[in-house]
């Protein structure tokens, strides 16, 4: 199981428009293509998770995540906000790169935690933040995932 398998170009947005944490979370959810009610429930769950502690892990990276009945398989998305957004991160720095992970409550393949761990590992690679800043297309993002071989 490699991270690249979970991403496609359609779930990568390199120009998030939102100016606040809430707005970019909504934009990220929209990348998953759920119906409106499901999007609303998922937004509430992600907000509640954020209320337990920010998912901004520092170095400009956040990984909002939760389990929810509104998805029937693991879903991920990546978004970039070049100017940064206040995510109440651990290091109090603005977030530029956001990885969204949502999984159903029960997974036969049990991918949620390993994928969450791999994304955290990917995000912490020293060259990754700079390369995420520089990339021009979703395809480059997918290529970086492949290169890192996580």
């Amino acid at each position: 199981m490699e991270l690249r398998e979970f991403f496609s170009e359609s779930v990568v947005e390199l120009d998030l428009k939102g100016e606040s944490k809430d707005e970019v979370i909504k934009e990220m959810i929209a990348l998953l293509g759920l119906d409106e009610k499901s999007e609303g429930i998922l937004y509430k769950m992600l907000k509640r998770r954020e209320n337990l502690g920010s998912t901004g892990i520092g170095k400009g990276i956040a990984i909002p995540h939760c389990r929810s009945l509104v998805v029937n398989r693991l879903r991920v998305a990546f978004g970039r906000k070049a100017s940064g957004v206040d995510f109440k991160s651990i290091d109090e720095q603005p977030v530029r790169h956001i990885f969204l992970i949502v999984a159903p409550p029960l997974e036969v393949s049990n991918q949620y935690l390993p994928v969450l761990g791999k994304i955290a590992q990917f995000a912490r690679e020293p060259d990754v933040p700079e390369r995420l800043n520089a990339m021009q297309s979703p395809r480059e993002f997918l290529a970086l995932l492949e290169e890192k071989n996580l």
Binding site: I41, M45, C66, V71, I90, L113
Partner: protein
Amino acid sequence: MHAQLQILLEIQDLKTQRRELLETPGERDMEEQVFHVSIDDALAKLEEKIREMEDSLSAQVRGRYQRLAGRRGRVVVPVIRGTCYGCFVSVPTSLASDAERNQDLRSCENCGRFLYLID
């Protein structure tokens, strides 16, 4: 979506989050070490929110919810490809293909759990 079903889904998701923190060491470690979450604080907040959401259910639905929670654990389950994911018995075709998906509060005829239709 039926308003009560929406509340039930939210309760179920909150309970899932609580269960993961209580029973899955990997998830607890991840939240503590990567995201610096205080597990005790998180559990207390989740507990409070679950109670608040349970109180917002109608009396009739809350009664069924409490009976199911005591007997079956999971109260709301998805229907995926025509199968109830609580008891893994097929649900009637008319229900599984309902054009007005999740507009009504429906239950599995076999296990009694509330059903959430999902693609």
